[in-house]
């Protein structure tokens, strides 16, 4: 280990944040760029399944909430890309990698939103799972990422409560069709939400280094267990069930036991075979391609303005 590396690891061990200008191992930088860009891409792609019901939101209140949530997500994307750029990466280049299929975004957004209840379930389960992850990441070792997480977590918690409230309203004040919509939505998103924490620890070979660098701070399986434990009481309060016959409280462990996750589905979706992988990427690619002339115009205008100022 070089003196720089030793010094770096000592800071990490002492819970001192690494900042943009500090020396860091190249692999640390690369791992972070990859992770933050994936996180940013997920915020942006994650707008699409919600947009699918935005134009069909059933009331002013719900439409305002949903649009505000989507706007927050675009904002999260912006913070995260900024945090990523402190590491010397370029936003456009990372987005191009996404569009070429070289980087991923969270697989959960490859599932379609099939009813209004999905707007509740995404807020509650999907954002809920994201928060469990992000709460831990608030203590991640890289300063700008950690600070972005703190800001994002606050807003996400708000979204999660809103999502839960959508479902609660449908279960408590809704008719039978609406209640069925909620249960159906939970049935469809339950397992994909559990998959959001990634493969089981035994199949997650890169985790060890990330843990040592404190980029990651808890294992996939521990995060997943934490999510399940905190979610089941909320599920019961809704009066709904999880589509998992093996789910039950284990007094001994002090945790819920749960059934086997169908990892073949996870890997299928990851490979591009989810129901919406193609649509999501196509939508994003077209948005950027169709916007080429707009961004070019803005650049041209800005440089004309600058020239005028110089001339004056």
């Amino acid at each position: 280990m070089s003196p720089e590396e030793r010094h770096f690891q000592e800071k990490i061990d002492a819970e001192i944040k690494i900042e943009a200008k500090n020396w860091m191992p190249e692999a640390y930088r690369r791992t972070l760029i990859r992770q933050i860009s994936q996180h940013a891409h997920s915020e942006i792609v994650g707008m699409l399944p919600e947009k699918n019901w935005l134009t069909r939101a059933p009331s002013f209140k719900r439409k305002l909430q949903l649009l505000a949530k989507i706007q927050d997500e675009a904002g999260h994307g912006l913070y995260l890309y900024s945090a990523m750029e402190t590491l010397g990466a370029d936003r456009d280049e990372e987005v191009a990698k996404l569009h070429r299929g070289e980087v991923k975004y969270s697989s959960i957004f490859n599932y379609p939103t099939r009813s209004w209840a999905d707007m509740g379930t995404i807020g509650w389960l999907v954002d809920g799972a994201a928060i469990v992850n992000q709460v831990v990441l608030q203590r991640t070792s890289y300063g700008p990422y950690s600070r972005a997480m703190i800001r994002i977590c606050k807003e996400e918690s708000f979204h999660q409560r809103q999502g839960y409230e959508i479902l609660l309203t449908m279960m408590r004040e809704g008719n039978d069709e609406q209640k069925a919509m909620v249960q159906d939505s939970i049935n469809r998103f339950w397992w994909p939400a559990l998959m959001m924490f990634g493969p089981t620890d035994t199949d997650s070979p890169n985790s060890a280094q990330s843990m040592a660098w404190k980029i990651k701070r808890m294992s996939n399986d521990d995060l997943r267990q934490r999510f399940i434990d905190q979610t089941i009481p909320q599920l019961e309060l809704l009066g709904c069930t999880a589509p998992d016959p093996d789910l039950k409280w284990n007094e001994e462990r002090g945790h819920y036991d749960f059934g086997e996750i169908d990892w073949s589905e996870f890997y299928d979706v990851l490979k591009g075979n989810g129901p919406c992988n193609r649509e999501r990427l196509r939508t994003r690619r077209e948005a950027i391609d169709n916007g080429d002339w707009v961004r070019e115009a803005a650049t041209a205008y800005a440089s004309k303005q600058q020239q005028k100022q110089h001339a004056a």
């Binding site: 719900r62 169709n290 002339w293 961004r295 004309k304």
Partner: protein
């Protein structure tokens, strides 16, 4: 203040409020369609922002309309359960998004009208109208600043953007005249000092638009060109029906449901 309105004036005001609320609702819906498709992430945020403001204003106008109308309906019922023929929005608001220049031309002409109108409504003798206008004006001031900036950027950007922006302006121009037409009952409201007269508003609007387009190196179309009207009479273009079918689907499909 509402107690003082006589019944003809009250009906005229309800009609006017529907016009404002419906225009904001439809415009916001069109902006919602852009989500995920904007040319840059910053524009996703900005368009959502404008859409949110307009949606909030729509709710305020329609809530007040519902209150004055006093038929037991609320803002949601007005927005989600009236059919096309009862919608009172400006035709310009329902025009399809087209490309980014088309959307910006629509937004700019609308914002310039909206800004000058709300400025005037800040002096309304109706306290509720005044309050909603004051709150909205802050938001619309930003909207106009933003769309004005885009008109200049695209007009004086590249040759391609200049052409697209000019085409967009020429294309939507025919829907701008309607913003300054009055219904048969508007004069009651003007007389009562509740809403401003259209003529001075039109002059302010035209002055602002002409100056902006000139700075943007764009040609302002003929102010005496033939103008399409009808929105305030519920006579819409063929685009509105589809927009409402989508927007109103859930309340129509599940009558009476709480969401």
């Amino acid at each position: 203040m509402t107690a003082q309105l006589n019944s003809a004036c009250r009906q005229a005001l309800v009609d006017y409020l529907l016009h404002l609320g419906d225009s904001d609702t439809v415009m916001s819906q069109r902006l919602c369609e852009w989500v995920g498709h904007a040319p840059a992430l910053e524009e996703e945020v900005a368009m959502a922002n404008v859409g949110l403001d307009l949606l909030g204003q729509a709710r305020s106008w329609l809530s007040y309309a519902a209150e004055l109308e006093d038929q037991g309906r609320d803002a949601d019922q007005l927005a989600f359960l009236r059919d096309e023929r009862e919608y009172r929005n400006l035709l310009i608001t329902e025009q399809a998004n087209g490309n980014f220049a088309d959307t910006m031309a629509r937004q700019f002409f609308f914002d310039a009208w909206h800004f000058h109108l709300l400025t005037a409504l800040c002096q309304s003798t109706d306290a509720q109208v005044q309050a909603i206008a004051r709150k909205g004006l802050k938001e619309v001031t930003y909207h106009l600043r933003r769309s004005t900036a885009w008109i200049k950027r695209l007009g004086d950007g590249t040759a391609v953007s200049h052409q697209k922006m000019q085409d967009a302006i020429d294309d939507i121009w025919t829907y701008t005249g309607e913003m300054f037409t009055a219904t048969s009952t508007d004069p009651l409201l003007v007389e009562a000092g509740i809403v401003p007269a259209s003529a001075p508003l039109q002059q302010q609007w035209l002055g602002y638009v002409q100056a902006t387009l000139q700075e943007a190196t764009l040609t302002c179309p003929d102010e005496n060109a033939y103008m399409q009207i009808g929105g305030r009479q519920g006579l819409h273009t063929e685009q509105l029906g589809y927009l409402l079918a989508e927007m109103q689907f859930l309340p129509r499909a599940y009558p009476g449901a709480t969401w």
